[in-house]
Symmetry: C2
Subunit: 444 residues, 2 copies
């Protein structure tokens, strides 16, 4: 294990699961570890408490006349269940071949740390950075960054910058540098259904009361037309900007095909909205997904019960120019309209974030692509992505800055899933990319 | 606590949950407790192991020329979850007013024990029983009595009888003696849906693979037409015998109305098959119920995941002359036909039992009604019930005997649900009923 990987191993051992209130202390310990590391490398560091998890801020000495670059990352991670599907414990990093396996390895600790070590190495060599740098690391990305936009607003003057750079996206294939110019937005909704005041015997009462377990299925099933794969919420597609011809053309030439998508996901066949390719469906079209559904008896054997309650967790992935709050309002109206008699609904808005798109051909975009080319020795692919980084829109809204997305995640990194992993080659390349990027942006 | 209630309290403390393999020892301890009690009362007792839980058999000395009566009961109970909704621990009986609260209090330990104590008291008074009696107590009713029919077949000669009596059904209202002449059958089905080989990030892959959480909702939702409340499986109603006019008339005069059904269940409004009253829907019409549905993240907060799997537990309540195996075959064909592309199904048949109906006006039926009238001082109501006691059909098939159902459960007894309870007045009446019943059947 080289020294850099040893640092990564340390960082990955914190179970910094932001959505789990029991992990609160671990999230904070992880922030403290970053603070110490950043201080040692010679930066000015501030740890800011929020209503949730802390923000860690670090800067070199900012000098007038230089470009100001903010690099964003997040040190929180997704939950680990189903735990039994991990080959090794998720917070005990395991190296096999070129990969390090751990929760957060790709999303986002490995990529964040590559930038931190890139800067650390430049400074350790006695050189100044070619830009005014601000590191902004948060601990709430996986729960939708509820406190980051207020933080940006409160500290706006101190955070103003020319451009933001983030490595939290993917590469289309190993060795193919990738510049991401668009992201889907997200809007989450939790639904609680209530029927009888207590669980009922399905023999004694079956047939005469609405069953919340059936009703939750009816709500979830009403979201799609199965044949076309289209979302059936009124107005859902109204604001969607059609894909441009150059995008469809460029994406069709990428080294990503349906066979690889099938192999990566393990499905027997792909399924989605008619008239679009797989890449178009995931990068350029909106979705409605059931992330969780539950009611009644899920244990061993049978229990002939009509449950009193049922739950449903939904998320919508959005594309320009869909607005999260409009989509959530339409979804709520839809669910209320299809809810059967005898069932009451409680609807709880979850986190949301606007979709994002930037012109890949402006000066900063071209500088980022030069850094990618210098690091990987190949012309970068120009893509959009299906995931959401809601704060990218906040950087635009509050700071007026575009965001450059230079991802290091491989297609089989298993982000959010068991056996998440990060390529050690990309980790090393990421350290180099940080140095090339700051150089390239400094001379913009 | 009087001496009889003290015995009931003892019996209720065994957590004899038959579906839970971890409770196996408790189920056996409960059987041993019965064996000891029956031996002390002077009966000949046999404990028979099965592939599952034991059968306990007890007889007095059978004398030629007397009627032979079998009294059946079950000492196993339903699971207790959701545990947090119990006001007191389910296996620590709690008395408040006329009720004793515990899992199994009504279903079926309290009712079984009333018969046992009735016989015990007759014998303790130095009298002979007026009939040849066989007690048959099993520990697998709540999982569909998988080993009882083989047991009946194996011990057929020793079990032959003129009639069977069971107290495991309900009274239409407190103080109204009730004779049940029909039961619904049951057929259970478990469905496992598989999509991707692992949980997927719903941003990265959402839109291009079928989501098992959505698919399970589509399967469950396909079972009913919401507007009519009718089951949409092809052929589901083909074998259903229409309700007779005298039944619809008799039921419409019972002291049970929709307002009471709403109050018992706590729903805001009743819901079911169009053109039938609530009693007709629960006693005389078949159903398809979702007893359990689950997929994805059901914990605190959100997790934007496309789950690899989903599960569904279904049960169908059947009426004469529906056949469980035909209904399960139709349900399997239906589910396979509506399953979306990219999702594979594993279908596992659960327990089943035929629906049952007997003529309430034959000699034994009239004798049972006389015993009910003598015990409660009122003319009994003639009803059918929505629940299933599959072995009633087995008694008919294997032993050729009709079954008399003289239930002591009150409408608000919460069988299968948290805070299950049994009326102590009915417990005392049940002891008396046993003595009146054996007397009445003995003189048939």
């Amino acid at each position: 294990m080289n020294a850099d990987v040893k640092v990564l191993d340390e960082f990955l051992r914190f179970p910094s699961i932001s959505t789990d209130s029991a992990s609160r202390g671990h999230v904070n310990d992880c922030a403290d570890w970053l603070v110490e590391r950043l201080q040692k490398s010679g930066l000015d560091v501030e740890k800011h408490p929020t209503k949730g998890h802390p923000v860690v801020l670090a800067k070199n000495k900012h000098i007038e006349g230089r470009k100001t670059v903010m690099i964003y990352g997040h040190y929180d991670v997704q939950p680990v269940d189903p735990l039994e599907l991990w080959d090794h414990p998720p917070f005990e990093p395991h190296i096999a071949g070129d990969r390090i396996y751990a929760r957060g390895s790709t999303d986002n600790k490995g990529q964040l740390l590559a930038h931190l070590l890139g800067v650390e190495k430049t400074l350790a060599a006695g050189k100044d950075l070619p830009v005014n740098l601000t590191f902004l690391f948060e601990g709430e990305e996986e729960i939708g960054s509820p406190n980051l936009e207020p933080f940006l607003e409160e500290h706006r003057d101190s955070l103003l910058c020319d451009v933001v750079a983030i490595s939290d996206t993917g590469m289309v294939a190993p060795g193919v540098p990738t510049f991401t110019y668009g992201l889907r937005g997200i809007a989450c909704l939790e639904v609680l259904l209530k029927g009888p005041s207590t669980d009922l015997h399905s023999g004694i009462y079956g047939g005469t009361v609405a069953n919340p377990a059936t009703a939750v299925a009816q709500l979830a099933a009403s979201l799609h037309e199965v044949a076309s794969g289209r979302v059936q919420i009124d107005g859902f597609y109204d604001a969607v900007v059609p894909l441009e011809d150059w995008e469809r053309q460029a994406w069709s030439n990428l080294p990503l095909d349906d066979a690889e998508m099938i192999s990566l996901t393990g499905v027997s066949t792909l399924y989605g909205e008619a008239d679009y390719t797989s890449l178009e469906r995931t990068w350029g079209r909106p979705t409605a997904e059931v992330n969780g559904i539950g009611a009644g008896y899920q244990g061993e054997g049978s229990k002939t019960v009509i449950p009193a309650e049922a739950m449903l967790k939904l998320s919508f992935r959005l594309v320009p120019d869909q607005d999260p709050s409009q989509i959530l309002a339409a979804a709520k109206a839809h669910l209320k309209a299809v809810c059967p008699p005898g069932i009451s609904l409680e609807l709880k808005m979850g986190h949301d974030g606007k979709p994002y798109k930037v012109d890949p051909h402006n000066d900063f975009g071209k500088a980022a692509q030069r850094a990618l080319q210098a690091t990987f020795g190949k012309e970068p692919a120009l893509i959009r992505e299906g995931g959401s980084i809601p704060i990218v829109q906040s950087f635009k809204d509050v700071l007026g800055a575009d965001t450059l997305l230079l991802g290091l995640a491989l297609p089989d990194c298993r982000a959010h899933a068991p056996n998440e992993n990060f390529s050690l080659e990309n980790f090393a390349a990421g350290i180099q990319l940080n140095q090339n990027l700051l150089e390239s942006l400094g001379s913009c």
